[in-house]
């Protein structure tokens, strides 16, 4: 079984929240090396060469994202997105609470790489414990001279601020996060301009996921080539997969990218006895389901896209044959309808409408015309939205309506005889 331990190394073995334990295991070595020996460009180059792609959901190459920052003399900001709210995803939560110094080191390396002097980490409001742990990590690192003014006597200044969110899924969207961080209503901004041009406080900003930044540490330690040697042609390195659903041992498993879907299910203990496999949602709530025919697909960005879904944030939800797909569809749509910020029409009205229709289905009061309506509305609203939230309603809904139409048709109200 190809379970690997890169970021997860040491978790459960030692108390990595203790800065002395973390340093004893080789922690902050890369940060010290970067500050003393490396130029920001070296960090950037290593990041680019490693082929690291964003682990938050979109899978955008991190090196390219950094390269979009304009050289216009304006201050730059690094924001670490720890507003992990995608249903089924719980990897950042673990990293934050179990190995905060690794995350902090990653943030510092990233900030150094793009030449920013003030980095922020936006921690989901519900992660109160994680916030406390991370705040302590910041304090400890500052006491050790690893961040703040004049880091390690080199004259470098990098400040890190931890900010707690107030609890909205949409604040995980990068511009929504920036608005929330600025103290505004957590609503996505109209793009363009993109954050790389005008982000936090109107300045060039990079928003990276916790896992993405944490991988900078092993990349610098073992070299970009080591990271690039793992994985498939265009998806490099490792990925923490949050396996949940109908498996025997749900949890976070770090695997090399390219491990097959079947293998991941087996790593997580396989299905419960007597159940048969129905579907997997490979990339969080906003991804479409993949089915038996895709079990041997490697778990990478391209193959998941080929299967009609996406790798997303690595939330791997397994469904067996006992699943009530109508309820699952309602659950998914209700989530998006509830989390819609209400700015743009398709997401605000479409999500709510679909939710009400599916609610009728669950109660057995569906109309035959509704099925066609669900397909039409969910299909048409995709692509019309201000941000990706509205576009996330369709994939799961459409994949299950198309795959299990009999479950929906069974909930259609008996035809009324005309009076």
């Amino acid at each position: 079984m190809p379970v690997t331990k890169v970021l997860t190394a040491g978790i459960g073995e030692a108390d990595l929240r203790d800065i002395s334990v973390y340093r004893a295991r080789g922690g902050y070595k890369q940060w010290e090396r970067a500050v003393r020996d490396l130029k920001p460009a070296d960090v950037m180059e290593a990041c680019d060469k490693s082929g690291l792609r964003g682990r938050g959901g979109a899978g955008f190459p991190t090196g390219r994202k950094w390269s979009f920052l304009p050289n216009n003399g304006k201050p730059r900001y690094m924001v670490c997105n720890c507003d992990e709210a995608e249903p089924g995803t719980f990897k950042d939560h673990m990293l934050l609470e179990e190995t905060p110094h690794l995350v902090l080191e990653g943030i510092l390396l990233g900030a150094y790489g793009i030449g920013c002097t003030h980095a922020y980490i936006y921690i989901r409001g519900e992660f109160k414990r994680g916030y406390q742990i991370f705040q302590k990590a910041i304090d400890d690192a500052r006491a050790a001279g690893l961040l703040g003014k004049n880091i390690l006597g080199t004259g470098l200044d990098i400040e890190v601020t931890a900010h707690r969110g107030a609890g909205a899924y949409i604040c995980g969207e990068e511009t929504g996060l920036l608005n929330s961080l600025e103290g505004k209503r957590g609503e996505p901004r109209l793009k363009p301009p993109f954050p790389a041009i005008a982000g936090l406080y109107g300045m060039p900003t990079v928003v990276n996921n916790v896992e993405t930044l944490a991988y900078l540490v092993p990349i610098l330690e073992k070299g970009a080539d080591w990271f690039a040697s793992v994985g498939t042609e265009r998806s490099k390195g490792y990925k923490i997969v949050s396996v949940s659903g109908h498996v025997q041992k749900p949890g976070n498993y770090e695997v090399p990218i390219g491990t097959t879907v079947r293998e991941i299910i087996e790593i997580a203990g396989g299905l419960r006895p007597g159940r048969t496999f129905a579907a997997v949602q490979p990339g969080g709530q906003s991804s479409a389901c993949i089915f038996e025919e895709h079990l041997d697909y490697p778990y990478d960005y391209e193959s998941m896209a080929k299967a009609g879904s996406m790798l997303g944030s690595g939330a791997f939800t397994v469904f067996d044959d006992t699943t009530d797909w109508v309820k699952a569809a309602l659950n998914s749509v209700r989530f998006y309808a509830h989390e819609s910020c209400g700015q743009c029409t398709p997401c605000r009205e479409g999500g709510h409408w679909l939710e009400r229709v599916l609610h009728r289905f669950v109660e057995g009061r569906g109309l035959r015309s509704d099925l066609e309506m669900i397909r039409r509305v969910s299909g048409t609203i995709t692509g019309l939205n201000l941000c990706a939230l509205g576009d996330s309603i369709e994939p799961f809904l459409k994949s299950v309506v198309n795959r299990f139409p009999e479950q929906f048709e069974a909930r259609v109200m008996q035809e009324l005889t005309p009076a």
Partner: protein, 663 residues
């Protein structure tokens, strides 16, 4: 976009080649070929927001439909605004907008001029798959003294929220709650109240925000619309007056009025229309006999007046005439003409705090926006509200520096510097760029000091008049130009019994003048005083003969605004029977003396010639003064009444509450 203005981009919209400046948005580019792209959230003055998603267009080479409101043009771009893909996207958006819309068009004030109605007819599907009950939200929410909000009709385009933030700089309105529960509310829960609230009813593309004064009064297709200029203050915003069955039911701004109002109206200009039908309007000349007013006919009134003038001449007493800002240019000119023809030299318009109305050189409102420093003296936000919006624009969006000299009313909610004199102001302004001085025309010493201090920067000068057509009165020659006495001297002499007849046209010095007590004595000591007014004001009560005048909505003429533009005012209403315009009164008086009056063509030509004539006076220069300038009395808000506001109960509630100390 000024630097990009020269660079032109060529693109094709619906097969028609278009050439527009670089950076133009597709919605604006489409207007060039008269192709409409429907919008709700986008507004030319508010910019794109990307919320309603109805402005979808197809751009060749892009997989998804793009929103026209935030897509800048690019060279060689091929855009389709009416093909099948676009139509299907738009009809989906309209279907979604109508999912929870109550469809209560028959009782909606917007019905008939509603963008949602129009676009649903133009682009909608015409049928709906909605089988569930609609979401119920509060209807008829009392948002503040001016606005009623219907949450069910709201499409959350946030135009009102953005207007409040970007244009008015108030940030009172916000979107509360999330998702489909979105509602518009004030952030604090307090009533929505500032000087420009009425504009949101015009911005609202649906019937969510409607005016209380217009609520259920009419349907838009029943209205008789007249384009006129607002005469509530000296800014002179262009305005539509909508009349139904002889009642002015609402006034609306003129959207493309970039030169003057920028498309906005203040609440005073918009809502102060209740006085027109007030029962206490004067409709018959009143003559005071034994301390009691008795109603007389117009012929008798003119005869009495003429007799009084003849008696005064015979007795060797002086005759004086004071004109106010309510007079149109034609009336002010004719007042001067008739009085001079009768040998009267004691003419003045300066019956209030203000002593100067015309700066040395005209400067346009648009130029004010581009000044890098704006120096204000006086409560400009109250005196010229829509001009204040330009100042907000210049400061908050164009980076100008605002310097307030002396008492300037409530502090604005954005960056500004308060100083006490012109010298400090010179320190506070930006070192580079143009300077604009906006002065209330009251304190001549301050005006002169400002002019002297900034003379080297060749500043733009504006005088925000207290009376709406003070500038017109000054230009038309309502000044003691031929060696007559000015207002202060007239008041002082009349109080000593030197005057036989004193006529006041559209002026209420007993309320507004710093020397109101002297003036009261003057009116008592003069045997015959004539006051032309709409209402029984303080000055009218002290008069011998009170003449009922027409309001600005009931007569046509011209006025001159702060920037020196000659603006037309068109009659939109029938005056109450018995009221005459000041012009007609002067003609009536002239007939008593068989005076040859100018023909209307000559009158127009004289007005235009005088309005176009440059005024040589510099700021703070006392023109034709025959007495020392009085120290200005404390600023009296126009809202306090004395004017027409006093005759509409609702107006008093519109005023912004005083800013709480420490808030």
């Amino acid at each position: 976009m000024a630097e990009a203005a020269t660079e032109m981009v060529k693109l094709t919209i619906d097969g028609v080649p278009v050439e527009v400046p670089k950076g133009t948005l597709l919605v604006e580019a489409a207007k060039k070929i008269k192709q409409e792209i429907p919008v709700y959230c986008y507004h030319t003055k508010l910019g794109p927001a990307g919320l309603c998603r109805v402005c979808l267009v197809e751009v060749e080479g892009m997989p998804k439909l793009q929103i026209g409101c935030n897509t800048p043009v690019a060279d060689g771009m091929v855009v389709h605004t009416r093909n099948e893909k676009v139509e299907s996207g738009r009809s989906m958006i309209l279907e979604l907008l109508l999912v929870n819309h109550p469809l209560d068009c028959p009782i909606c004030d917007k019905g008939g001029e509603c963008d949602l109605q129009d676009y649903a007819m133009a682009y909608g599907r015409g049928a709906s798959d909605v089988a569930d009950p609609k979401q119920s939200k509060p209807k008829g929410v009392d948002l503040g003294p001016t606005i009623v909000l219907d949450e069910e009709r709201c499409v959350v385009c946030q135009r009102c929220v953005r207007f409040d933030d970007i244009i008015a700089g108030e940030r009172q309105l916000v979107v509360k709650d999330r998702g489909h529960n979105d509602i518009i509310a004030t952030s604090t829960g307090d009533p929505y109240r500032h000087n420009f609230t009425g504009n949101v009813t015009e911005l609202c593309p649906v019937g969510a925000l409607t005016s209380k004064t217009y609520r259920f009064k009419s349907r838009p297709w029943d209205l008789n619309r007249t384009e006129t200029s607002c005469t509530q203050c000296a800014v002179g915003c262009r305005q539509f007056a909508d009349v139904r069955y002889g009642t002015l039911v609402r006034t609306m701004s003129v959207e493309n009025d970039d030169a003057i109002s920028d498309g906005w109206l203040c609440d005073r200009g918009r809502y102060n229309i209740g006085y027109l039908g007030a029962p206490e309007r004067l409709t018959q000349p009143l003559y005071k006999q034994n301390g009691q007013f008795v109603q007389i006919g117009w012929d008798d009134a003119f005869a009495l007046w003429a007799k009084a003038i003849n008696d005064a001449r015979a007795a060797g007493k002086a005759v004086g005439a004071l004109g106010g800002g309510r007079l149109f240019n034609e009336e002010a000119y004719l007042l001067g003409y008739v009085m001079r023809a009768l040998g009267v030299k004691n003419l003045d318009w300066r019956t209030g705090r203000q002593l100067q109305a015309s700066p040395g050189a005209n400067a346009s409102y648009e130029a004010l926006e581009n000044a890098s420093s704006i120096v204000i003296a006086g409560d400009i936000a109250e005196l010229a509200p829509v001009l204040w919006l330009r100042i907000i624009k210049a400061v908050t969006r164009k980076g100008a520096r605002l310097v307030r000299v002396g008492a300037c009313g409530a502090a604005p909610g954005f960056a500004h510097t308060d100083v006490t004199n012109a010298g400090e102001a010179a320190q506070a302004v930006a070192a580079e760029g143009g300077v604009a001085i906006v002065w209330d025309g009251a304190d001549l010493a301050l005006g002169a000091a400002l002019a002297a201090t900034f003379a080297s920067r060749s500043p733009l000068a504006y005088i925000a008049s207290e009376q709406s057509n003070a500038r017109g009165a000054e230009a038309m020659g309502l000044l003691p130009t031929d060696g007559g006495a000015d207002f202060t001297k007239i008041a002082a002499d009349a109080a000593n019994g030197a005057y036989g007849v004193l006529a006041l046209f559209g002026a209420n010095p007993l309320r507004n003048a710093p020397n109101a007590e002297t003036m009261r004595g003057a009116l008592q000591a003069t045997p015959f005083t004539v006051v032309s007014e709409l209402f029984m004001t303080e000055s009218a009560q002290a008069a011998t003969l009170v003449l009922p005048a027409k309001s600005a909505f009931e007569k046509s003429g011209t006025v001159i605004d702060i920037a020196g533009d000659l603006l037309p005012v068109n009659a939109s209403l029938q005056a109450p029977v018995g009221a005459l315009s000041d012009l007609e009164m002067l003609i009536g008086l002239a007939q008593q003396f068989d005076l040859a009056l100018p023909t209307s063509e000559e009158l127009d030509a004289a007005v235009i010639a005088r309005a176009a004539k440059p005024l040589a006076a510099a700021l703070g220069e006392a023109r034709y003064a025959t007495s020392e300038p009085l120290a200005p009395s404390s600023s009296r808000s126009i809202w306090d009444g004395g004017g027409t506001c006093a005759h509409d109960d609702r107006i008093a509630t519109l005023r912004r509450e005083p800013v709480k100390v420490g808030a």
